[in-house]
Structures are given as structure tokens and as C-alpha cells.
Amino acid sequence: MTTIHRSVSLALILAAAGLSAAPQTFDFKDPKGVNNVQFHLDAPLESISGQGTGLSGSVVFDPATPETITGRIVLATASLTVGNPTMLEHLRGANWLEVAKYPEIVFEAKRVQRAVTEGAAIKAEVAGVLTVKGVSKEITVPVTFTHLPDKLGARLNKPDLKGDLLVLRSTFAINRSDFGIQAGQNTDKVSEQIELTLSLAGAAAR
């Protein structure tokens, strides 16, 4: 009887441990409209800065094993915007991002090369495939993950809603010619390098 009791208790403990460490799928379609990707390019007269907010996708994350992160983040190119209307027209046009033909920019995370926990944050090098204007390229980007347990309801002002948040921050640069964006052209007017800053919050409801 005692052995059976101990076995059942052990099984229950193991099951509880498994449940609390289970990977969660975080959805990055943000109802508050905060998720964004900002871009920046240098230019002789004035640097070009803008933002895209049409983000969606999901990431599977287990705080116990951060090196197992996988996921897919999608940016709707039609959501990209800058302050000058002529510049915006060029950005969306055939010579640059060709938004009508290529409606999405996608990053597919394949593996984590290095994950280090620093306080509440996990800093990782995430390798994956970035697809821009129909061109796919393997890149590795630094990402900081911050897991916020039980914060979903408070963030959306719905106390009855249970769930966690996963905040992603990343800053990295790409070369536009690597993705066939005016490759080798207008380098005197617009810099080759595009700096990208991602600020994303995903939600996993329970």
C-alpha cells in the first residue's frame, strides 16, 4: 500500500512538473497594435526610417529549454510606412519592395545556436531563413526573449483571461542587394545596409 502510494505520488509530481515546463505556442498577432518592425537606412540628405506593424506568426517556446525555440514571424509589406508620401510610393513600388507581388516578409526560425539566461531574459542567437521579395537567405540574428507568466489578462485588461506573454527584441542588419532590392544601384543615394529593429509581444492563452 505504501509503495503504491509512493508511486502514485511520484507520478503526480512528475506529471505536474511536465505540465509547468510544457512548451507553449505564442501568437504574435497583437490586438493592441504595438508589435512592430522598424527599419533604418542611411542616405546623404536625410536617413530613411519607417515602420511596419502588420505582424503575425507564432513561436513555440519552453522556458525550461529555450534552445528548442522554433517559430515563424510574418510581416505584411503593405503595412510598411514612412513619413514622405513619394518615398512611400517608391518603397512599395516595383523597383523596391514590390508590395503587390510580394505581400509578405517571413522569418522562419530553425534552431537556436546559443541561449544564455540573464536574469528574466534569455539572450539567444537564432538561425533561420529570411524571405524578402521572394528571395530566401539563411541568417542568424540575436534575439532577447522575456517570458512574462500570467500577464496576458492584465495587458489586455481582461482579468479573467489566463495566459502568458513572450516579448521578443532583436536588432540586426541585412544588405538589400542580398534580397535583390535594387542590387548595386543607387548606393550613392540610399545605403546598402538596412538596420532592422523588432519589438514583438506574443500571447499564449491557457
Partner: protein, 89 residues
Amino acid sequence: MRCALRLAAIALLLSSLGWWVAAGAPMGWWRTRVGVERTDEFTGLSVIEWQERFVPGVETPALGLLAGGALFAATLFFRRKLPPNQPTS
């Protein structure tokens, strides 16, 4: 007429320059929207919110100079009006 047009040319130049300087003399192209940063208190993430507002760029004083210059140049084709007792030859 000539004098009035010349004054108008100078006014056009000065007003376009003044407008640009008053906007902070931005060294960029004009914008029809301005970004204002908003921070989400729970995640600490910041997002730019766009406000529809015209901000003059370097084109503004340049266009003012061109338009004022063209107006001034047009006044050179106007014959100067002499006082009634002056001989015309």
C-alpha cells in the same frame, strides 16, 4: 505693378524660408505624417504612431526661391512708368 510684383516675389521667398525655419529647418524632404512614440506599459515595447501633419522640407525654401525668382524675372519685362513731363526718348 512692377513694384508690387517685386514685393510679392520677396514676400514669397521670405515666407517660404520663414515657414521652413519655424518648422525647425529640417534637413530632409517634406513629410505628410509625423511619428510619435507610444510605449506599452506591460511589455516595455515602443511603437511609432503616425499623426497626419505636414512638415515642410528643404523643397519648401527651394520652391519659394524658384517661384520668387520667376516672379521677379517677370517684372523685368514690364516697362518702367516714367513721370508725365519726362521725354520718352
